[in-house]
Amino acid sequence: MDSLLKLILLPLLAAGLSLLKLNPALSRGGVSLIFWSQFAYLIYLLEPVLLGKIKVLTLVPGIAADKIGALFALLTTLVVATAMTHACFFFQNESQAEPGSEEHVRIFYFSASLLLMAMTFVCFCDNLGYLWIAIEGTTLASAALVFHSRTKHSLEATWKYLIICSVGIAFALFGTILIFASSQQAVDAVGTLEISGLMAMAPKLNYSLLRLGFVFCLLGYGTKAGIFPLHSWLPDAHSEAPAPGSAMLSGGLLNCALLAIFRLSQIVLSAGHENLALKLPLVMGVLSVLAASLFLVRQSGIKRLWAYSSIENVGIILCAIGLNAPALFFLLALNHSLAKTAIFLLSGNIIQVCGSKQIHDIKGVLANSPVWAMMLAVSAFAVTGAPPFGAFVSEWGLLALCADKGYWWVVASLLMALALSFVVVSYHVSRCIWGTPAPTYKTLKQLPGAFFPALLIISTLLAGTTALTQKLVLLP
């Protein structure tokens, strides 16, 4: 039990700290410090797994870290730590604009700590039941993030988010139970929910139940990941949450749902049903990419734009799951998370300057705040997968793999969608950057707001230009 506590002690501490009525700067700084130390601590804890010294680090039965889980845990913690450190800057400006919202910010920090805790669990779950509980926990914890601004719009977005995701997740629970039932129908088996146990006995699982369970889980966790027909909550939630919240939702939460899908597809794969385990995610991924790139065209809100771009990237990552390429899966998720976090944080700054989320209200950012404008342009390139960023390398790898396996239809659709989204995003971003700024625009100090996004962009640039990441994530 104490090894479990080890994992969540620091986030718990952060949650406690954020509720105390201290000097805002102090408690916010403290929370971000705790998150960074959690990141460092996770590296220390997971080092043997990451370096491949041991395959699985079991903390308690049902909670274990394998390599991909460890990598995702690190990525999630990194995203949360970055976003929350940036939040110090963000909320400082916010409270200048709208004083007296200290209480709301405290709740925001509190829920962010809980969210980090739940997401860490998602990465380490070796039990489908715990996985479900953790993912539903992320929904509940992040509802407060979306609700932060307490406006009518945020209320609507939170309600949709909570209801749609809860129902989706309910279906995932149904799927989980079906898989559990399938393990009980195997010959002389007691039934298990442990992922490793299920993989070990996979060929003996009852296929019809397993198939049904996988489809339900895919739909359920797919709702949480925002795949195409079930995505309706995602743009609302991402655009209504404050910028650090959107960054965590997009950079952390989506990965968790995708990781759950990956785990399930691995179970079905080891049961020997390749068609089911791979084709279904692949088709859903391609569909999401195509749909999202079309939706991108007619977006008017800058954060909704990035939200649809997230849906597109989720589709791409699903394709990686569908190709059974774990390394590529992580690489895509990594680059997407880094670039998307950066771009959400920057958009938050720009929205604070311009006082509006609408693209047609944002003009002349280059004249008003040149550093952010440059960064926005660069990170938009990084998000859309332009060379030389990491996203380009990983998407290139994905396309190459598709071509290798002969999925030319996937290659064609992905290329089309990626080209379209590149054009659309460039168009929207250029509309924001050029032009003359309106006189109502505020001036904010730029350098502190640009520090973390810049770091992230540099790291995704590094991921693209060096072969380091590929070596790091070479998974068995």
Partner: protein
């Protein structure tokens, strides 16, 4: 082919869900939900004896206290506070929704037939039918209602259906998982209940079909 107690109880629960789809009174729906949950805990309790699994007794107790009493009282409190007591329904009128649910119960019978059988105590087509029918009725309830509270109730009915399925079609989820799910549901209901208050305060109604300001 006589039915045993568990099967009768679970079918009664499924019937209560069907009646919920037809009733426009929120207090009626809350009461029916409470009854339904109570029936499920009864089924859990009797399965505890049949399968000699003592942890089912604790689960049954937790369900009675938290889900059959706690949640309905909470929802009722919200209902009284907000002063909304009926839900006229959306496109599909409640009576028709009820007919849909009856037909879906028939459909669930066929779905239940297609599930592989096992020798577990309590595993039967009747229980599977009841569980799937509960799930589908909850879905109908969520789709055809316009008041936020009804949507919460619909979600809870879906959850009940899933619970009944887990109870009868498997040997029961491990206690930790069961309690974790229960906790999540409780917290979810609490949060959405608080949101309902907020919606009432900001919009002066809790009609979720009118929450359409955010769109592409």
């Amino acid at each position: 082919m006589n039915l045993d107690l568990i099967e009768l109880v679970s079918i009664a629960a499924a019937l209560s869900a069907i009646l919920m789809a037809g009733s426009t009174h929120l207090s009626m729906n809350i009461a029916l939900y409470s009854l339904q949950t109570f029936l499920l805990s009864l089924a859990t309790y009797s399965l505890a004896g049949l399968r000699a699994e003592s942890h089912f007794i604790w689960v049954a107790l937790a369900i009675v206290v938290l889900k059959a009493l706690g949640i309905p009282l909470f929802l009722h409190w919200i209902m009284v506070k907000i002063g909304v007591n009926s839900d006229p329904g959306t496109t599909l009128a409640p009576p028709l929704a009820m007919h849909c649910c009856v037909l879906l119960m028939g459909l669930s019978y066929f779905l239940a037939q297609s599930l592989p059988s096992s020798s577990l105590e309590g595993h039967s087509w009747a229980n599977a039918t009841a569980a799937i029918s509960l799930l589908l009725s909850g879905l109908i309830l969520m789709l055809t209602r316009r008041i936020a509270l009804s949507q919460i109730i619909g979600f809870l009915v879906i959850e009940n259906g899933i619970y009944l399925f887990a109870l009868t079609q498997t040997s029961g989820m491990p206690l930790v998982v069961e309690m974790g799910v229960l906790l999540d549901v409780l917290v979810g209901v609490m949060i959405s209940g608080l949101l309902v208050f907020r919606i009432q305060r900001s919009f002066e109604h809790i009609d979720v079909t009118q929450l359409t300001e955010l769109r592409d």
